[in-house]
Subunit: 155 residues, 3 copies
């Protein structure tokens, strides 16, 4: 079996981010049975926070979507490590949890988190369709605009 | 084995909501092994948001509880699809996650989410007793007052 | 096999809190297959809330960390019950979910939740290293400063 998902990433012009070492006593992912649970990821790019601030205040919908997309790329980088570099071992994306830092008046959380969900489907196809919760929170670590956690089934 | 849970629903006078098709690239539920993970549900009824606004501001405790109850009904409708229409395949409710849109001064989140928890136990009995987290959030999609996600064990 | 984890708790001078009975229709934990899901715990100590208020307002970073630590102790007390009093049956800490009640300007959520994460590793060693999400929320039950939920793999 060829490396389908890697080929799909190449097709989409996506290079996985370099995995960052954990900065605390937690780890980027845990595998239990056939599930990989990935820790909450921020929109870090090149070692820096790419999108800071809050939706409904200083962060536009487009920037929020880009933040969610970047979070998913960071999730994917850790998943890749969990799968020993073979993303074809991913059976499916099970669940994405999207936390959107926002003003109390903001209501477009689904559109923001679609930045991650759409990429999941673009990469994994039907296996990328997942359960999801998207909520608005008071604030996030480092003043990030979005945080994304994920569960995958792997073989 | 008779259809116990359907009979219980009838006894309680509960008709499951009509399942709404997904509006984004996520799906209403995912099954992995013996777990069904249901996406965050809003208090939609008849295609419209039944309870908008925030607890501790414009939404009363009673309306918040009704919203949580409605969320659980929507969860149940998707679970029913996941079980091919046979809710007797539900082994137990594993976890409910309740997000309550509220003012920073609000502190009665458990009472709100009980609107869902009490219904779970009314329908499933001891198998309806679940682990739970209930938190207050800055805002929710469409300005909903409550969002509820759920995990079930099924056979 | 000796009771390693109990010995480790003794070494650390940690006595597990007395388990509180559930106050609603949910339960403190659910076991499904090899996973134990523990309900969201507040920083209760001796039957009272130990740390109330919000980070970035009236609660200091140190008090927030102490709150997260206390939450983990309460998680542990329920896990102990789930394991019939034998914590050596814990295979690993899978995931901690930390909710920090805070001002919209607060950004040190990871440092707060480390109060729980550091204790997990102190007690369980490498098996204590876990996936994690830490977010800031508008408010929590009883005006608690922190709420912590957890998933463990057990044998």
């Amino acid at each position: 079996m060829a490396a389908h998902i890697q080929a799909r990433l190449d097709e989409l012009g996506i290079a996985l981010p370099v995995v960052q070492p954990p900065v605390a006593t937690y780890v980027p992912f845990v595998r239990t049975d056939n599930l990989v649970i990935v820790s909450g990821q921020l929109p870090m790019a090149g070692g820096k926070l790419a999108v800071a601030g809050k939706l409904g205040e200083t962060v536009s919908l487009e920037d929020g979507q880009a933040a969610a997309r970047q979070c998913f790329l960071n999730v994917l980088a850790h998943l890749n490590t969990a799968c020993d570099g073979d993303l074809d071992r991913v059976v499916r994306v099970v669940r994405l949890g999207g936390f959107v830092a926002c003003a109390p008046t903001f209501s477009q959380h689904p559109a923001v988190v679609n930045g991650a969900s759409d990429l999941a489907v673009a990469i994994f196809g039907d296996a990328g369709r997942h359960a999801r919760a998207a909520v608005g929170v008071a604030s996030l670590p480092l003043d990030a605009a979005v945080e994304l956690e994920a569960i995958f089934e792997v073989r």
